[in-house]
Symmetry: D2
Subunit: 144 residues, 4 copies
């Protein structure tokens, strides 16, 4: 299977509690898998998306997934992740899921950078360019 | 707030386990809320989406959500659901989430009708017209 | 079925995402059901277990469940909850789950009262007697 | 920290969706972590707990956990698992969770072996001795 070039690959195995009575992974889990992969990319870049006591955050403003084939208990799959777009205040990630040669599905998540102070409403904030540079470097240098 | 007319309204309260360390409902939960509302619509129509031993099913082929405002622990909200499109083999549901006068977000889920026999791959199947008629009647006659 | 007298009854329907590939509710969900019932009791007592910005909390220190019969998709069941013990710094809740005349299982959760200030470790704190009195009154006056 | 000798060690990192508004891992997740470790042990033994189309299964009849310290987002921890008891029809697993030198908590899960045929109620079944032998060998030969 041709995975998109320059992707960060997150390897994951399906756990029992992620399946439903239809015998396959419940569709809501793909959103958690995408988030796990995104946070793994941040760690690979030497970052963490949530520093304790931090006054910034990255809430999600849009999420979507298209399902092609089902995942089953104990399947191993790869979520190949790339940065699809960087806006002034947002980052959009694109995800391609494969199990061996089988395309499982594709998805996107858009996050915005916000500042949050106790007792105040969240405000959107500019995306720090050094964070983008480090994430992009981690994608480029990822094995696979 | 003006909810779309002719919607089925699913009332729900946020539970503790649905929140994350950011203090708000985790974004993956909106997909479960949408599914809960859809299944409640089926029950209101005198149907169930999963009959034990049934050889048909309704897997999801696409799901998306756009987030406007966050939900918090113990918030009560409404998912106003309507049938946005009926294809030969698929149904698309559109969801609008509100908490009081606050728009929380909007989403869609597309399901396909399939037949599944033990030991055979799933095959897409035509959407039964009587099911569509009953779902639409349940939307029209829903209180609110 | 003889439910224990003087219990708070939490009515719940099984949702699709709570089932697993064995076709029954995943065993981890009973712990979430127990917590939902406990928080519903707090609301019935005019309380909330988590006030925004509060410097106290009720973390769980022990949880257990014994499973007798399975729950299935769309089953309606009751979690009958009572306060089993009140210690100086803890409350233990006992839960009995039934679906109609069928005993589903029993469980317990022990919570401790803690004070938490930003930047300091949590410390256990005395259980406020007025909270206990209000919870017990809510159990006694619960319908059913 | 002295982990029990002869344990199977399952290494896991806390994911964002596993936290709650208190900023720590939700207590229900420890039951899923225990199950993940158990299934990893089965795989290490060259087995799977759920063969597609199998007419046997291992439902849980009891589960318990005692919480000592909290886990936080991105923490790495070990679940050290051993077979605590083998009955004629059941296996009980004992779990010890540690993060570095910190004891996080301990738990047990008891599973029974059952046969299940379509359209018939589940019946308990004898525990196959070769499965026990392979699980115990996998515990003994586990690294660490």
């Amino acid at each position: 299977l041709n995975l998109p070039p320059e992707t960060f690959r997150y390897l994951r195995r399906v756990q029992f509690a992620e399946t439903d009575l239809a015998g396959i992974v419940h569709f809501s889990w793909y959103f958690r898998y995408m988030e796990e992969a995104e946070h793994a990319l941040w760690r690979a870049a030497g970052l963490t998306i949530e520093r304790a006591g931090s006054q910034t955050g990255w809430p999600r403003v849009a999420a979507a997934f298209e399902y092609k084939h089902a995942l089953h208990f104990e399947d191993e799959f790869v979520d190949a992740l790339r940065i699809a777009a960087v806006g002034r205040r947002s980052i959009r990630y694109a995800h391609t899921f494969v199990r061996g040669e089988t395309m499982i599905g594709t998805g996107t998540i858009t996050t915005v950078h916000v500042s949050k102070r106790p007792g105040e409403p969240m405000k959107s904030a500019e995306v720090p360019q050094d964070i983008v540079a480090r994430l992009q470097a981690a994608v480029r240098t990822a094995p696979g």
